[in-house]
């Protein structure tokens, strides 16, 4: 699972070229192609009381084109391959269509700045994208929302493991980034009900077993030249993963998911969604292999 081709989704207000720059460390691994996409949402931007405004669409297209030309020139000069899509349509559908057409290895998207009311009426594009995309999605956070360094989000990722196929797929994904990642923190959050038994000995045994499983994965990373550390946290994953990220000075949170049916269910109000939408950390979400 190499990251050779990246699809960068932007409306310009939430993700700019600084975010692109911060991802260029991936060229030390396999990244060689960046595709930009700007979706002009017909109903949100180009409608008015007088109906559909073609002139407005043309203006928005050309604004996007001018920005992308500037960004692309910078990347072309570094020897990267660059492509651009400026399309009118529904954000999620157009992003998925472009990701499939380009066979992208990673989708990068920012969190939109919606108010609570807007969320209630329109739902979240990001959640919808995560539900439908077969490609890993990096949810980038706006600079003003975070105090952490975004010079290279892949520098110190924290991988939250729940032993699901998707979280093990995330291991395969990160293993390819030996030249980009300086250290990985592997975290498993055990729920209080997972601590079987009532004696200290039994509880410590559970911790030890979990730790050993994590150490086995650390060995896989170390074989690829990536330093890895195992951590066991106890409590609610909704809170503990973020705490672990802070403790480990992580630059990004990486989450897999449960099996497909559970994945869909989980998005309706669960840990990955919470991190995607609320965490201050860039969040990389690895979906399970879709059948």
């Amino acid at each position: 699972m190499k990251i050779e081709k990246l699809l960068f989704v932007t409306k310009f207000e939430e993700l700019g070229f600084d975010a692109v720059r911060s991802l260029l460390s991936l060229t030390k691994a396999d990244l060689n192609h960046i595709i930009f996409i700007n979706v002009i949402e017909r109903d949100r931007f180009a409608m008015s009381r007088v109906g559909y405004r073609k002139d407005e669409e043309i203006r928005l297209r050309e604004e996007a084109n001018i920005r992308f030309i500037d960004w692309s020139e910078n990347l072309f000069e570094q020897g990267l391959e660059v492509g651009v899509y400026i399309v009118v349509g529904a954000l999620v559908s157009e992003v998925i269509k472009a990701a499939q057409k380009e066979e992208a290895d990673l989708i990068v998207i920012g969190r939109s700045h919606k108010g609570v009311l807007e969320h209630l009426y329109s739902g979240s594009d990001v959640t919808e994208l995560l539900r439908r995309a077969a490609t890993p999605v990096l949810l980038y956070k706006h600079l003003s929302e975070t105090t952490i360094s975004v010079e290279n989000p892949f520098d110190r990722p924290l991988l939250a493991i729940d032993w699901s196929p998707a979280s093990l797929r995330a291991v395969e994904y990160l293993k390819e980034l030996g030249d980009v990642v300086s250290e990985i923190s592997l975290v498993h959050v055990a729920g209080e009900k997972d601590l079987k038994g009532t004696s200290a000995m039994e509880i410590q045994k559970t911790r030890k077993e979990t730790r050993q499983k994590l150490e086995a994965i650390c060995t896989l990373f170390e074989a690829q030249g990536i330093d890895a550390r195992a951590h066991v946290y106890i409590g609610d994953p909704d809170d503990e993963i973020e705490k672990a990220a802070r403790d480990c000075q992580a630059t990004m949170i990486v989450l897999g998911s449960s099996a497909k049916s559970a994945w869909v269910e989980k998005w309706l109000g669960s840990t990955p969604r919470k991190y995607a939408e609320e965490s201050i950390y860039p969040t990389l979400l690895i979906p399970p292999l879709k059948m």
């Binding site: 992308f68 000069e77 020897g79 391959e81 492509g83 472009a98």
Partner: protein, 130 residues
């Protein structure tokens, strides 16, 4: 029948513009919407001239130009670059790709920055094919 000219550009408005200029001057136009499609059409049709955009989905004009100029059977096809990307960037990009281990490729004979007037394009086409 006039000489065949392939227009490779993802913008349908630009393709329409170029095709109109070509038809008005008696050439036979062909169209492709990206570099990948363009390369396929070049191999199938061996056009006399290619009008090539740079920034496109699937494959950019920079990579397509490089493929053309390093292919023995295609390298003599004339190319006009018609793009919003600056000539300087095009040349720097080719230089970077050569430094990464690629073959050196010649500079494009004619480089036009968008937008371009119809008579300027027509004159460039005539010059490239003369």
């Amino acid at each position: 029948m006039g000489k065949t000219v392939l227009v490779v550009d993802d913008d349908p408005d630009v393709r329409l513009f170029s095709v109109t200029v070509l038809e008005e001057h008696g050439y036979t136009p062909l169209e492709a919407a990206n570099g990948e499609e363009g390369l396929k059409m070049i191999k199938e049709n061996k056009p006399d001239l290619i009008i090539l955009d740079v920034l496109m989905p699937r494959q950019s004009g920079i990579r397509l130009y490089r493929e053309l100029k390093t292919d023995k059977s295609l390298k003599n096809i004339q190319v006009i670059i018609l793009s919003g990307i600056a000539r300087k960037t095009f040349l720097r990009s080719q230089k970077a790709l050569t430094e990464f281990g690629g073959k050196e490729v010649p500079e494009p004979q004619i480089y036009l920055e968008k937008p371009v007037e119809p008579e300027v394009l027509a004159a460039a086409i005539e010059k490239a094919l003369s």
